[in-house]
């Protein structure tokens, strides 16, 4: 297997009030293989979302390196990072994050439009993806007409619009009940298995573990090796 994401001594420090420095990531070196479904787990404030933001190019690191599919993304300009996110990465956020004035299918094909693919082609793809997530009959509904679980499935379909290499999901089930959470997780698993996309998901729910190929445990901004050792022993 080849590593698609690699970080070396990744650090992130936030400056609060212009004076106080708060380290969010202290020294993270991880490698994620292509096609892996990886969970990032850890207690609140451990730095798991910060790690995901760094991997998703939503924020810049304070130190260390991130390499995605051979590209040292730390060296990319803002414009290059925007293009990289559009073409190579897909995102699913905790609160669905749909554009309120767009219908389900328009939300799904919006990233496709930006790639300068014709609107008809994008619409067709959007409908395919919605059908794949079980919402083909809800294509023309606005987000206010969809349940939380349905909105999150639309967000997953949107993350697949540009056939990204990697999907990054930040606690996608945090606002969902168990049944909808299971539907979403099964959908991620299916996407991972059927399309071979690498998925990195942040969660704090223990029962989600069963869906992951591997779990990266984070505590206090560092890899939690003790928990990982314990997990290995249990396996």
């Amino acid at each position: 297997m080849t590593a698609i994401i690699e970080t070396e001594h990744l650090k992130k420090t936030y400056t609060m009030g212009g004076k106080i420095e708060v380290p969010a990531l202290k020294d993270i070196t991880v490698s994620i293989e292509k096609g892996e479904f990886v969970g990032i787990m850890g207690p609140s404030g451990s730095g798991k979302s910060t790690l995901l933001h760094m991997l998703g190019l939503l924020d810049r690191q304070s130190g260390g390196n991130i390499t995605i599919d051979g590209t040292d993304v730390s060296r990319l300009t803002d414009q290059e990072r925007t293009a990289f996110r559009l073409h190579r990465l897909g995102y699913v956020f905790q609160d669905y994050a749909l554009v309120s004035e767009l219908t389900a299918v328009e939300n799904v094909y919006l990233p496709c439009l930006v790639r300068r693919i014709g609107q008809r082609e994008c619409e067709r793809k959007g409908l395919d993806l919605l059908t794949r997530v079980g919402l083909g009959n809800r294509a023309d509904h606005l987000f206010t007409e969809l349940s939380g679980g349905e909105q999150q499935r639309v967000a997953i379909a949107r993350s697949l619009a540009n056939d990204p290499d990697i999907i990054l999901a930040d606690e996608p089930c945090a606002n969902l009940d168990t049944e909808n959470s299971r539907i979403v997780l099964e959908l991620f698993k299916k996407v991972n298995e059927d399309l071979g996309q690498t998925i990195v998901m942040v969660t704090h729910e223990e029962w989600h573990k069963t869906f992951f190929d591997r779990i990266i445990h984070v505590r206090d901004g560092q890899l939690d090796t003790e928990t990982e050792d314990e997990a290995c022993r249990q396996e």
Binding site: L58, T82, R85, F93, V99, E106, L110, V114
Partner: protein
């Protein structure tokens, strides 16, 4: 770039179609009112100038010959008039003679300049005869008849303190007026007709036959002015040179020059009034668009963060708000123009009455284009600033909402 614009348009059109309709309608209505404000006051001021110019043409003709600088009258006025009348392009020539006079009727005494006119030729140049509201206009044979304006005649039913100008308190056709000329000659004249032209200058005047006035003042074939009407195809300014070529040595003024003089005298005030109205309108539109887009972007900060996160460029996002502003501004301008044209149409049917005549607002295409362009550009700039400020926020900062 065009493809990016298509995405911006895609977002903007959906935002307007499915966004808050009340806010959109309110924004368009406010911009329409601003646009009306920008057009209306200048259109009234233009209407005033148009009215002045039309009255000038209607009651003085296209061109007026005045005595030479050091002369009191134009000598040999008949000869000069005939010479002018023979020039191709001239469709009417008439003479006016002005003389100071004291008019007495019972206990009322008014001092003014009576105008001697050539009744037959007058009709070929001015519309004075069309203004008769009671009685008849003068004719060639009249010697002891006078025509006076409505304001000079006055109205018995109007209280004296309510009169704009000192009048003869309601004299009518058939009444007798005693005229005392500068040389002490006195004669009674019967009022033959009363004029109403809505021009204060005309309506506070008295007119007699020019031959009668010459006899009373002891002048001989002299005139204060010679008034000329030209065929519609003749360019007025060029005709000044033609008159000179035909040997007219007196001072020649066109109605354009009189209009320019009035514009020069009132222009400063008009420009200030027009500018205040335009600047106030633009200022309001800038504030409105800034506030509308600012609140919109504040409410959508999180959404903007998400859109940026999924790889949509900040320029596409900012431009989607600019497109919304363009739609609002274009709709506001269109609505404002329709409403303003309706107001102008209504005022054309019911003009604003002033002592200087009935004013109809005058809209010119260039003025409309300038107001529309300035409102459009000001709105876009005002909308772009908050849109760009939000679009350029860091993704995580924007996603916090």
């Amino acid at each position: 770039m065009f493809e990016d614009a298509k995405v911006s348009w895609f977002l903007a059109s959906r935002a307007i179609r499915r966004g808050n309709k009340g806010t959109s309608i309110m924004t368009v209505v406010i911009l329409a009112v601003v646009f009306i404000n920008m057009l209306f006051i200048p259109s009234i001021l233009n209407g005033f100038l148009q009215n002045f110019n039309q009255q000038n043409i209607d009651y003085s003709g296209h061109m007026v010959i005045h005595p030479r600088v050091n002369d009191r009258y134009i000598e040999n006025a008949t000869v000069v008039s005939q010479k002018i009348g023979g020039i191709p392009g001239v469709i009417g020539v008439t003479r006016h003679m002005s003389a100071p006079v004291i008019i007495t009727h019972q206990d009322r005494v008014v001092s003014l300049g009576v105008i001697g006119i050539d009744p037959l030729n007058e009709k070929t140049v001015t519309k004075l005869g069309n203004g008769i509201i009671r009685g008849d206009f003068l004719d060639e044979s009249d010697t002891s008849s006078i025509v006076i304006g409505k304001q000079l005649a006055g109205d018995k039913n109007v209280k004296e303190e309510d009169e704009l100008l000192y009048s003869l308190r309601g004299v009518n056709v058939g009444d007798s007026l005693k005229l005392t000329f500068n040389n002490g000659v006195t004669k009674s004249y019967r009022i033959k007709g009363i004029l109403l032209t809505n021009s204060q200058t005309i309506d506070y005047n008295a007119y007699v036959n020019i031959r009668e006035l010459a006899a009373m003042t002891g002048t001989n074939d002299e005139a204060s002015t010679i008034n000329i009407k030209l065929a519609p195809s003749i360019p007025v300014n060029d005709f000044k040179l033609t008159l000179m070529k035909y040997g007219i040595q007196q001072r020649i003024r066109t109605w354009y020059e009189d209009a320019a003089l009035v514009q020069q005298q009132t222009g400063g005030t008009f420009i200030i009034l027009g500018s205040v109205s335009t600047i106030a309108g633009l200022f309001i539109s800038v504030i409105i668009m800034f506030v509308v887009v600012y609140i919109n972007t504040i409410n959508k900060r999180k959404q903007i963060g998400i859109i940026k996160a999924i790889g949509i460029d900040k320029k596409i996002i900012a431009n989607s708000f600019v497109f919304q502003v363009i739609i609002f501004a274009a709709s506001g301008i269109l609505l404002g123009l329709i409403l303003d044209l309706t107001i102008v149409f209504l005022l054309a049917a019911n003009p604003i009455s002033t002592p200087n005549g009935n004013i109809i607002p005058f809209l010119d295409v260039m003025g409309i284009a300038q107001a529309a362009a300035s409102l459009f550009i000001a709105s876009i700039i005002a909308g772009y600033i908050p849109a760009w400020n939000t679009a350029k926020l860091e993704i995580l900062e924007a996603m916090k909402g």
